[in-house]
Amino acid sequence: MNDENTIVCRCSDVTLKEVRDLIKQGYTTYDEIKRITRIGMGPCQGKTCGQLVLREISAATGKSIKELKLHMNRPPVVGVKLDLIAEEAKKND
């Protein structure tokens, strides 16, 4: 499999090669890789790519996937429109 063409993160268009290169350069936690590549910052919030990245880190560092930490899931889980939130908030004013 050609890792240059393999997309790990579909939200932010990150390839497997980019992830592997960063791990080689010493970025060996999910948090570090996320900050450099935007992996996990898109609409899916890392639901798809998270495990794939952890598997790569695990393969390179020898640490088990269980030991590795995934990022915080930030609220909200599904996209809500801002004006709907505003309307609701005004009702409570």
Binding site: R35, P75, G79, L82, D83, I85, A89, K90
Partner: protein, 382 residues
């Protein structure tokens, strides 16, 4: 871990990385940066990463101008493989009262005198730049097309990599627990991974600056305050500049990636180190944005997060030595705008440590200004 270092820098944010880079570039060997989590895990990785020259005090104008000049060439100067993504699409500052417009007029005068290309705009002119701006609630605006924003992770990564190439040692996931002082001098830094003896320590710990200063019993007149941001789904490019208002309490920009990022302050926030997200922020932000920039209210929220502002009494940073301990330097108290000063922070602190002729005389930003009552209040912060 090394057992001794020439200089130990506490904090792997923009301030710590820029300071390490500048010191190493000037030939200092044996520098260690200690970061309790990963690089940019503090405020730097949580910030809006906006950089503006439209300030109300001369000092802030000068620091911001020099930093922006640096950012214009950052990829080359730092020999970065990637791109720090500096976009100079301007800042549109909007006013909602006549008094605020008077302040803008005064600020623009100071800015122009220092060579900053800002100007006052009428509401019609402001609408030409952001057509969907709700000018019904506004009294005027000021604008500087050279203001902009960067990618905070990649910008810090550029400093980090450049410093590393120059031999700086970075210890991530390593926490400073204490600092030993002997006969009024810094002696060593104790971390959870070992002890490093050193004569010079730089406190660049962001929101945790007071915790670090407490370790050497040096009083620091700062507090930390949570500030929150939210980001929407990405959409087509529709807004070039950052839109910011002090009186309406908001800033909002579209990132190169297409999402909108926005935040506001809240002076009822508790003064502590919490960085959880609140529902209340979300509601207030949603109301403000729907009123000021109505079409943005139609966008879906993707996520929100929080970080710390490290506040000083005059909302300008503290640079330099302390009175109680020899060898202890401060690069703290950025009051919500330390990212944009990052390049200059490193220059200033390295010059202070090496006792060189200053690029910008920032001596008035020393810690004694609070005791001596030499505060120069910055009027223009969110």
């Amino acid at each position: 871990m090394i057992s001794s270092a020439e200089i130990v820098i506490i904090g792997g944010g923009i301030s710590g990385c820029s300071t390490a880079y500048n010191l190493a570039k000037k030939g200092v060997k044996n520098i260690a940066v200690i970061e309790k989590s990963y690089i940019t895990s503090g405020s730097t990785g949580r910030c809006g990463a906006g950089v503006r020259m439209q300030w109300g005090t001369e000092m802030n104008c000068k620091l911001a101008k020099k930093s922006i000049e640096f950012y214009e060439n950052a990829n080359d100067v730092l020999e970065y493989d990637g791109d720090v993504e500096f976009k100079q699409e301007g800042y549109l500052l909007i006013a909602s009262t006549d008094k605020e417009m008077d302040q803008f007029h005064e600020n623009v005068k100071i800015q122009n005198k220092l060579g900053i290309p800002s100007k006052i705009l009428t509401l019609d002119e402001a609408k030409e730049i952001v057509p969907y701006l709700n000018t019904d609630i506004l009294t005027g605006a000021s604008y500087c097309g050279k203001d902009g924003f960067l990618n905070p992770f990649l910008t810090t990564d550029a400093f980090y990599r450049a410093a590393k190439r120059l031999g700086v040692e970075f210890y991530t996931y390593t926490q400073v627990l204490d600092i030993k002082v002997e006969n009024g001098r810094v002696k060593s830094v104790i971390t959870n991974k070992g002890e490093i003896s050193t004569n010079i320590v730089v406190n660049a710990a962001g929101g945790y600056s007071k915790v670090i200063s407490d370790m050497v019993n040096s009083e620091l007149p700062v507090y930390s305050e949570r500030h929150q941001i939210l980001v929407t789904e990405p959409v087509e490019a529709m807004q070039a500049p950052m839109v910011m208002s002090f009186s309406l309490n908001l800033y909002c920009q579209q990132t190169p990636h297409g999402s909108f990022m926005m935040g506001r302050g809240d002076n009822r926030e508790p003064r502590d180190l919490r960085i959880t997200s609140s529902w209340e922020f979300l509601e207030q932000m949603a109301k403000t944005i729907t009123e000021v920039l109505p079409p943005i209210g139609k966008l879906r929220l993707i996520r929100q997060w929080a970080g710390l502002y490290n506040m000083t009494p005059d909302k300008q940073p503290i640079y330099g030595k302390v009175n109680e301990v020899e060898g202890f330097y401060l690069a703290v108290g950025f009051s919500g705008h330390g990212f944009m000063f990052g390049p200059l922070t490193g220059v200033i602190i390295s010059e202070m440590i090496l006792e060189e002729e200053p690029t910008i005389d920032a001596s008035m930003l020393n810690i004694n200004r609070f005791k001596e009552g030499n505060l120069i209040l910055e009027p223009s912060v969110v």
